[in-house]
């Protein structure tokens, strides 16, 4: 059997949905509820506890907690394709703080660098939490409307205040520079929380061009050797209950009840691309394996 490893790194800023994606994928390949491009083979490091913990919340339609900074959880999964080839897929499910540090502090953790330096990239972007650029003309326009408004001290600029797409482009540029550079790569841009943003009537590709123009232009310019595809992803399928861990007043949502009552939980997952919509999260993974 051919062994190809490692291949995919899930990348995303804090709260971009990396853990939810992993939980949904684990459910998908474990349950076998629906046919998928890739199917579950085995786990190499047998770290089921963490996967079971996050998939439990996913099945209960409860929000995932933050991934803690301490202890990067590297999940290595063997998936098997239709032709019987075993593929080792490594998911460094690291907290968004690590990617944030790459932007804010210009530093990358050693373990993370090892992972990012070898695989193709799945970039998760929370479509519902994109921080847009604050245009000066808009600010001036708004200020003109609020005459004699409260005088405000200009806030000191910090890297954290940068627009989401600026941070993402910087992140991708990091991946094309030493020590993370490994040559041409495949990139799957996953616009997460698609169920929340699809109301705008844009396809994922158009959404990227409209909401993340800087990122879109960077990728299309071919300045770096990215071959990319853009997907819309709803790994939850709707609004989950708030996590009641340490929160006695966690909200229970009706949408979550609907999701729980689905006969086939895998159908919560929605993957939107140029082709027909599917529930198969392994589809972009299979594509990301394409050059290996």
């Amino acid at each position: 059997m051919a062994m190809i490893e490692p291949n995919v790194s899930i990348v995303g800023l804090p709260g971009s949905g990396k853990t939810t994606f992993l939980a949904a994928l684990w459910h998908l390949v474990q349950s076998g509820e629906i046919p998928t491009r890739l199917r579950y083979g085995s786990m190499s490091n047998e770290d089921y506890a963490y996967l079971n913990q996050i998939v439990k919340l996913w099945r209960r339609a409860t929000e995932q907690g933050r991934t803690q900074i301490a202890g990067m959880k590297s999940i290595a999964m063997h998936l098997v394709d239709a032709e019987g080839r075993a593929i080792r897929v490594s998911f460094p499910d690291v907290p968004g703080e690590n990617y944030r540090a790459m932007w804010e502090d210009r530093k990358v953790d050693e373990g993370l660098a090892e992972n990012l330096g070898t695989g193709n990239i799945m970039l998760l972007v929370n479509g519902d939490r994109i921080k847009a650029p604050a245009w000066i003309t808009e600010r001036l326009h708004l200020a003109g409307k609020v005459e004699k408004g409260p005088a405000e001290e200009p806030a000191r600029w910090e890297p954290r205040h940068a627009p989401t797409q600026v941070q993402l482009v910087d992140l991708l540029q990091h991946l094309m520079r030493a020590p993370l550079h490994r040559g041409a790569r495949l990139l799957a841009v996953m616009i997460g929380a698609w169920d929340q943003v699809e109301g705008e009537g844009l396809s994922p590709v158009d959404f990227q061009a409209a909401k993340l123009p800087f990122l879109d232009q960077y990728l299309k310019s071919g300045r770096d050797e990215w071959t990319f595809r853009t997907y819309g992803l709803s790994a939850q399928g709707g609004e989950f209950d708030e996590n009641d861990e340490n929160n006695a007043s966690a909200k229970v949502r009706t949408d979550a009840n609907r999701l729980r009552e689905l006969d086939v939980l895998s159908t919560r997952i929605r993957l939107v691309s140029d082709g027909p919509e599917s529930h198969d999260l392994t589809e972009p993974l299979e594509w990301l394996m394409g050059d290996q």
Binding site: Y50, G65, A70, E97
Partner: protein, 676 residues
């Protein structure tokens, strides 16, 4: 109060971590080195995945190695934040030096503030820790504490994970932390609420509490130990007691003093406790303390070792060989070792190894004064016992303990070299000679010759009377080297005990002592002699005196002959003269024909007469030579046959005819007339 010093408070830095598009530093100290800042970022994040955090939060304690600071942080759940799993963490950053001054964590605990109740600005500046209070007695189950301490210090390289439901809590963890010596305290990592191992590859957590004991097996931590009944260790009992009632027995002070030099971390606690128990007299078995010392780096743990040694020294007589050797080494190397204690150690060295003791006595290291001090205190019986074990030590010991030279039994200790022992001592007094004589030890002449004649003579007079001839013989021989002293002693009648004089006569030659114008010393001695002699001794002494009279040395032969002739003649006539007496006498008699040798009496009479004639001795002395008239007649008769005898006797006759005072009844005159 810490070690008697008053602690007046100190400043600490603080930080606040929480969620702001990811967990991050929100406020406070920002000048930490990157590695330490990263450590704080990680450890200020939630310690649990799915478990519910306690509302009051939990504590995490850990060092920042590069900054030389220690962080005590409280982490609270932050359900008010939109993302689940967010926390607030308020960290207090304490300099290592200040951490050492804490005796209770309560002053730090009072500083913690959850963000909801205060503004962010409160986390910007430094905080002041008030006067640290003394630790209060603990209120917890001693069995639980014993299990925890046993796990921590019994498995020093393991991660200790205990359940909150098993009675462990924040309070007991803080008390355990505060009980540690500063060096251990500042490296101790703990967390009072977690659901997974918080250790990293480089920084292992010492102690972590989790909600349920039952979940420990699922943790899959490498090298994990869980506190409980099985982890309790009896030797840590002092620690348990101290945890319940802090520092009542001086344990913390002991740990503080000793811990500064140990490098074994948690692994040093058990050995230190064993040492503490021994040092404080809680156990009397030094073996445990010595074994404990083996568990520490000896080159560093010098304070601990010194305390053990001090304790061993106090009961030095019961110390084993190893312990005793340690104490010796300490005395040798520590100039401040208590002098009285060192002297006791020295005394014990004498008891165990007399030869080593002597080696130390003459050595130049610090053990020398200790042994010298000890030597002045060791009683006579112990000295003798030691010398019996190693007689070769006698000279050096006697040199420093003069009283030994006159101690009863000393000179008879088997194996001692008397001559060398005398030589090593400066005491040449009569009482030493007396001691030697009365010990009836075998003394060589050369040994005796080390003393002056006066001392020997005095001793002979004092104790010689009760001793056998063999025992005084070397002393008498030694006297021959001091003839001036001997002559004076005889003349002044300092040597007047008859048996002693008799033995002297056996020892020396009749002509050995010279005479001066004052007369013959032998005459003075024998004239003033006291005490009884046996017939044999008397015969020999008279033969000696007569032989001297007939010899060349005496200036007063007539007097000696007057003392001895009659007795000698009687003994020869009665065949009672001892052979050695006759041999001595014979050497002074004129040569005779072989057929004349049998008549010893005649030979003596002739020799005496010839002496008078030849030396023209005093007529009066001849007249009074003997009391026995018959013997006098015989002497006179034999004298008349010698050369010049007739002429001398005619002078005697004329003397008697003029003055017959010395001839009652005229018998001597009549006798002369018949002879002449």
């Amino acid at each position: 109060m810490v070690d008697g010093r008053s602690v007046t408070g100190f400043e600490v830095q603080q930080t606040l971590h929480g969620y702001g598009e990811g967990h991050r530093l929100l406020s406070g100290l920002a000048s930490l080195p990157p590695r330490d800042a990263r450590t704080m970022l990680i450890l200020s994040d939630s310690a649990v995945g799915g478990a519910k955090l306690p509302e009051e939060g939990y504590l995490t304690g850990y060092p920042l190695a590069e900054s030389a600071k220690y962080v005590l942080a409280r982490t609270w759940p932050a359900p008010e934040m939109k993302r689940p799993g967010c926390v607030w963490t308020h960290s207090v950053i304490i300099d290592f030096a200040d951490l050492a001054s804490l005796s209770s964590a309560s002053a730090i605990l009072r500083l913690f503030r959850r963000p909801e109740a205060v503004t962010r600005e409160m986390y910007e500046g430094p905080l002041t820790v008030g006067d640290p209070a003394s630790p209060e007695p603990g209120k917890f189950d001693s069995d639980i504490a014993a299990g925890l301490l046993g796990a921590l210090y019994g498995s020093p390289d393991s991660k200790i994970v205990g359940g909150l439901d098993a009675g462990l809590d924040e309070d007991i963890v803080l008390r355990v932390w505060m009980q540690q010596w500063p060096r251990l305290r500042r490296s101790f990592r703990f967390c009072t609420f977690t659901a997974s191992d918080r250790s990293t590859q480089s920084d292992s957590f010492d102690l972590q509490l989790i909600p349920n004991v039952s979940s420990i097996p699922r943790l899959r931590l490498p090298n994990l130990v869980s506190p409980g009944e099985a982890t309790r260790a009896p030797e840590l009992e002092p620690l348990v007691e101290d945890l319940l009632d802090p520092d009542v027995d001086g344990l913390r002070r002991f740990l503080r003093e000793s811990g500064v030099e140990v490098s074994e971390g948690r692994g040093a606690m058990r050995p230190l406790c064993a040492v503490f128990a021994f040092v404080r007299g809680r156990t009397s078995d030094p073996g445990l303390a010595l074994a404990a010392l083996d568990g520490l780096d000896r080159s560093r743990a010098s304070t601990t070792r010194r305390q053990v040694v001090r304790r061993l020294a106090q009961d030095i007589d019961s110390a084993g060989d190893l312990g005793f050797q340690m104490v010796l080494d300490e005395v040798r190397s520590d100039p401040e070792f208590d002098e009285a204690l060192a002297a006791r150690v020295g005394a014990e060295l004498w008891r165990r190894e007399p030869a080593s003791f002597v080696g130390a006595l003459v050595g130049t290291d610090l053990l020398s004064p200790a042994t010298n001090a000890a030597l002045s205190q060791i009683d006579m019986d112990d000295l003798m016992r030691g010398i019996s074990r190693d007689p070769g030590t006698a000279p050096e010991i006697a040199k420093r303990r003069g009283d030994l030279l006159v101690a009863e039994g000393f000179w008879t200790v088997p194996g001692i070299d008397i001559e060398r022992t005398i030589a090593s001592s400066e005491d040449r007094s009569e009482r030493v000679v007396s001691s030697l004589m009365s010990s009836v030890a075998s003394v060589s002449r050369s040994a005796a010759e080390q003393f002056q004649g006066g001392a020997i003579i005095g001793a002979l007079e004092r104790v010689g009377s009760v001793l056998g001839r063999d025992h005084v013989e070397p002393w008498l021989q030694a006297l021959l080297g001091h003839t001036r002293d001997l002559i004076d002693a005889l003349r002044n009648r300092e040597l007047k005990f008859a048996p002693s004089i008799s033995r002297l006569a056996h020892t020396i030659d009749p002509d050995d002592l010279f005479c001066d114008e004052r007369g013959d010393p032998w005459f003075d001695a024998v004239s003033g002699m006291v005490g009884e002699l046996t017939t044999e001794e008397d015969g020999h002494l008279c033969a000696f005196l007569l032989a001297r009279a007939l010899g060349r040395q005496s200036r007063d032969p007539a007097a000696l002959m007057r003392l001895s002739l009659e007795k000698v003649h009687r003994a020869l006539a009665g065949s009672r003269m001892p052979p050695d007496g006759w041999r001595m006498l014979r050497n002074q008699l004129p040569f005779v024909m072989p057929w004349q040798e049998w008549d010893r009496c005649w030979r003596v009479r002739s020799a005496v007469g010839a002496k008078f004639v030849d030396r023209n001795l005093n007529i009066s002395d001849f007249v009074n030579l003997v009391d026995d008239p018959e013997l006098w007649w015989q002497v006179a008769s034999d004298t008349s046959h010698g050369w010049g005898g007739w002429k001398y006797l005619k002078q005697v006759q004329r003397r008697l005819e003029v003055d017959g005072a010395d001839d009652p009844g005229g018998r001597k005159l009549a006798a002369l007339r018949s002879i002449l």
